[in-house]
């Protein structure tokens, strides 16, 4: 029977089932990834965000939750302009971080 609404699929992420090996490797190379406080300044200034949905804040969150495909789909829209590096209040070299993410997760980007 269709009531016009239904049970929403669960959005819970079971972190016990997530393989975070690559994220730990990213953390070894880019310790600053843990400095991110998800303020969203990078996403707010990103010139690609408006038309492509690119958000570095969301990318970091997705990688921490093991949603690599989702993160890398967003990463493809990055133009490496470096504006996010200029505005980061924590002084994270976000451009470098993006390049490191591409290097570590390169299998999936092909």
């Amino acid at each position: 029977m269709d009531f016009g609404f239904r049970i929403s699929p669960s959005s819970a992420v079971n972190l016990d089932n997530v393989d975070l090996e690559k994220f730990e490797e990213l953390h070894r190379i880019e310790p600053d990834v843990y400095k991110c406080m998800a303020c969203g300044s990078c996403s707010a200034t990103c010139p690609a965000a408006r038309f492509s949905g690119m958000s570095l804040r969301k990318v970091i969150l997705a990688l921490q939750r093991g949603k690599e495909k989702e993160a890398l789909a967003m990463m493809k829209n990055c133009m490496l302009c470096g504006k996010c590096t200029m505005v980061c209040p924590r002084g994270i070299n976000t451009r470098h971080l993006i390049l490191s993410i591409c290097r570590i997760y390169k299998e999936e980007t092909k």
Binding site: F3, G4, F5, R6, I7, S8, S10
Partner: protein
């Protein structure tokens, strides 16, 4: 565990409830959902226990339903509540008891706000005077109706005709209690047992012979959540919350659910039908659902009132398996007969959820 420390914390969440002389206000929605509940509350308190309860036909909704649906501002709700307090003052009462959990939370929230911002109370007094030339005293004590049944639970147990015991096995019935969110989650010290371990329904269940069942999502919302249900686009979210609760309690095989809020019994009862139709899943034994009762209905059942006289035929989930377990006698032929044997017409039976 430092026992003395725990004891002190627990003592902060106990209430000294006045025994008598109450101004009673009804809920705006319960009359439509489970119309027997409020009638039985007054029947038990006034008729059976001979307490002084006064209600007036002039009182209105407390405005909490619109406030929590984001459709009216708090100043409007405060003025409505001020009028209710004026009615209490005019009737000569000082103790105020609300049938609805959200009303109870609403009154407490407003009284606490006035305590913190007295200038707001002055403004509301002015607005009430301009609107209807009334003045009010703040109540000395505000209680929820379940607090009073909790207080009278032992008197009810002493007069009980039935106990919450499975007559086939002799074991106490397994009962899930569900407390309305606005009872103690906003102001824990105003609820018996606080927000984490509210004892108001557990006390009734234990006094009347049942066993309280703990389960992981025990303190989760029933799913109603006002704006989650009333906005149709959010209704799936409301259903999902109820589903989460039922999935969590299912392995503990409860015999029934006891609630003290207008919305909780309604949604936990009706959503079982929707879950059955959409997911094909039922949570009770042999295709039945888990019956959901209000505390007034349960008190009436243990006192020996006839199930169809207290409105149990208006539940979506059939209560007959529970009545059979307790050993309460009922006539199936009279289920859909009203006063004077008037035929109420049988509802259409659902496809998945077994109803009788």
């Amino acid at each position: 565990m430092i026992y003395q420390g725990k004891k002190k914390i627990w003592a902060d969440y106990q209430k000294e409830i006045p025994d008598n002389h109450w101004f009673y206000v009804r809920s705006c929605i319960r009359q439509n959902f489970f119309p027997g509940a409020e009638k039985m509350f007054l029947e038990i308190c006034k008729g059976l226990l001979k307490k002084d309860f006064y209600e007036t036909e002039h009182h209105t909704t407390c405005g909490g339903i619109a406030y929590h649906c984001d459709t009216i501002p708090q100043e409007t709700v405060m003025t409505i509540v001020a009028r209710q307090f004026a009615l209490m003052t005019e009737a000569g009462y000082e103790n105020y008891v609300a049938s609805c959990i959200t009303s109870f939370g609403n009154y407490i929230e407003i009284l606490e706000t006035w305590k913190e911002f007295p200038e707001l109370e002055t403004r509301i007094r002015e607005m009430l005077w301009k609107a209807c030339r009334r003045e009010f005293n703040k109540p000395k004590y505000v209680a929820h109706a379940s607090d009073l049944i909790y207080k009278y639970r032992n008197e009810i147990a002493a007069r009980a005709k039935y106990r919450l015991v499975n007559r086939h096995t002799g074991e106490p019935l397994r009962v899930v209690e569900h407390i309305g969110c606005h009872y103690a989650k906003m102001f824990p010290a105003r609820g018996i047992g606080g927000a984490e371990y509210p004892y108001v329904l557990c006390g009734m269940i234990e006094s009347w012979g049942g066993n309280v069942i703990d389960y992981p999502e025990r303190r989760h919302c029933c799913g109603y959540g006002f704006r989650q249900y009333h906005v149709k686009a959010n209704r799936g979210y409301s259903l999902s919350n109820t589903y989460k609760k039922f999935e969590s309690m299912e392995p503990y095989h409860p015999d029934f659910i006891l609630t003290n809020c207008p919305g909780c019994p309604y949604f936990m009862d009706r959503w079982q039908y929707v879950i059955a139709e959409t997911e094909g899943k039922t949570y009770g034994e042999n295709g039945f659902g888990i019956p959901v009762l209000t505390y007034e209905e349960l008190a009436s059942l243990v006192l020996g009132y006839a199930p169809w006289d207290i409105g149990l035929q208006l539940h979506q989930v059939a209560v007959e398996p529970l009545l059979d377990k307790i050993g309460i006698e009922y006539d199936p032929a009279k289920k859909y007969k009203g006063l004077d044997e008037k035929e109420l017409m049988k509802p259409e039976l659902p496809g998945v959820l077994r109803c009788c």
